[in-house]
Amino acid sequence: MLRLIDINKYYNPGTVNEMCLFDGFNLDIREEEFVSVVGSNGSGKTSMLNIICGSIPVDNGKIEINGTDITNMPEYKRQMRIGRVYQNPALGTCPNMTILENMSLADNKGKSFNLQLGTNKKRINGYRETLSRLGLGLEEKMDVTVGTLSGGQRQALAMIMATMTPIEFLILDEHTAALDPKTAELIMELTRDIVKEKKLTTIMVTHNLRYAVEYGNRLLMMHQGELVLDKCGEEKHALEVDDILDKFNKISIECGN
């Protein structure tokens, strides 16, 4: 269970540009929930993910995982339980290292990075098998540097790498936004399979309303740092793209856009 309790977050505090993003923001995410998060730009979706991952500090409030306070835990330590895939496919992989080296790195997460050989030869076949399930032919390119791959291939690899070792939470930050529709579809299917297989608690920020409706068992809509819609279970299944679009338009009108 992941809890955000009374989160306050100000940007540029003490200046004329001071902006309050979160003022007493609360959110509970239960185990094995797959939460889709939608909302306009600046609504606080990515900031929320950054707060959960520890990429940005909070001004006030508490972040708890299974009852343990992790508010002051540095970002890298939190990653022990978290896998994260970014919007930019380049962020999840090392471009100048080969696919095999990238896979080896990801496989070693949680273990000591000591003076043993970086790639365990016995694991290579396993890596090949995992990659062949993608159907992208990556298993034939183990010694190719990742920088030469396409955005979709890199994102698929990033997805595999982020979920390779046992984690509890999967954080997806618009992870299909930079991809063409067909590849995006493929990545979403991959996401669904991995989440199901590994029983991960997932938070997915997306601008694609169809994905938000089709995938997951809970849907959040954010606006100016607040939750304006929170549907789960049956209510979520009944939702359609048009319902969310209506809500979106209403908010926009209220804002005078």
Binding site: C94, M97, N102, F113, N114, M161
Partner: protein, 295 residues
């Protein structure tokens, strides 16, 4: 002519270890580490101090590596833990080390001609035949550089080495692996400056004297070697990056020697160095731009 070539090879190889160190910071970590200008003479100072005390020259070499690594660690801590900009952390170390080096060496010029060195000791006198003497230094240097290169190659293939490469390639990945990228950078800077200081120790043992100014331009020489090596020879697929960097160091020393042979005196050395470096930077930029235009 042969003496000249051997001289260039010797100098290029002595700086080869430095080039390997700079390769770690400049190319792998993407960190412009100016502390190199201080750690190179630091290695030299430690070496002359220990050899003057009568210590084994090989141990002096190891000691210079360790103390250089310690200095590199401090650069890393200044940058990572106190959030001082990379360039400035190096400059702080470089400036501070100038005094430290003088303290360790005892004065700005220290000669150790009369003492044993790795190139000149009783063991070598006994074993090496007279006819081979002119090639002795270059052979020994070759062996040392080869050992250091292989050590670095092996390290870069370990888990820890993978992480070092990852931190220069994409810091986000290192954080995702639940590792502190700052610590990795500190480790990288340590290893790099260990190499650099050892190179200073080798240089001093070869020349038979220490001079406080040997560090001036050490980074430039290192970066130039790295750029020449990677840009000129990087396309040759059977050469590892570490090999090209060492060859780059020899090529660079050749360029400097050629410039000097055109009638410039050794006072002009640093100016030649600077102009050569500029030419290398400009031409390598041009290549990059052209590649981008095609992409």
């Amino acid at each position: 002519m042969l003496t000249l070539i051997i001289g260039i090879l010797e100098e290029g190889l002595a700086y080869g270890v430095l080039a390997l160190g700079v390769y770690i910071t400049y190319k792998i970590l993407d960190f412009p580490d100016l502390s190199v200008d201080g750690t190179f003479p630091l290695g030299g100072a430690v070496t002359v101090a220990l050899i003057s005390m009568g210590l084994n020259p090989l141990i002096a070499l190891l000691a210079s590596f360790l103390i250089g690594a310690f200095a590199g660690m401090i650069t890393g801590i200044i940058h990572v833990r106190f959030r001082v900009r990379d360039m400035l952390s190096g400059i702080i170390m470089m400036t501070g080390l100038y005094s430290v080096n003088l303290r360790i060496a005892g004065s700005a010029n220290v000669a150790i001609f009369t003492k044993d060195s790795i190139f000149d000791n009783s063991f070598i006198d006994r074993v090496v035949p007279e006819g081979f003497r002119p090639y002795l230094v270059v052979t020994l240097l070759f062996v040392i550089v080869l050992i250091m290169k292989i050590l670095l190659d092996v390290y870069l293939k370990t888990k820890s080495g993978y992480l070092l490469r990852a931190v220069g390639d994409n810091e986000t990945v290192v954080t995702s692996l639940a590792k502190d990228k700052g610590t990795i950078k500190i480790i990288g800077l340590s290893i790099a400056n260990g190499f650099v200081a050892m190179s200073g120790g080798i240089f001093v043992q070869r020349n038979g004297f220490f001079e406080i100014s040997i560090g001036t331009g050490a980074l430039v020489a290192g970066v130039a070697s790295v750029i020449i090596g990677i840009n000129l020879l990087g396309k040759v697929s059977f050469l590892k990056a570490t090999t090209t960097v060492i060859l780059g160091s020899i090529l660079y020393k050749t360029c400097v020697q050629i410039a000097i042979s055109f009638g410039l005196v050794s006072q002009d050395r640093k100016l030649i160095t600077a102009i050569l470096f500029l030419i290398i930077l400009i031409t390598s930029n041009g290549r990059k731009r052209r590649v981008k235009a095609h992409a």
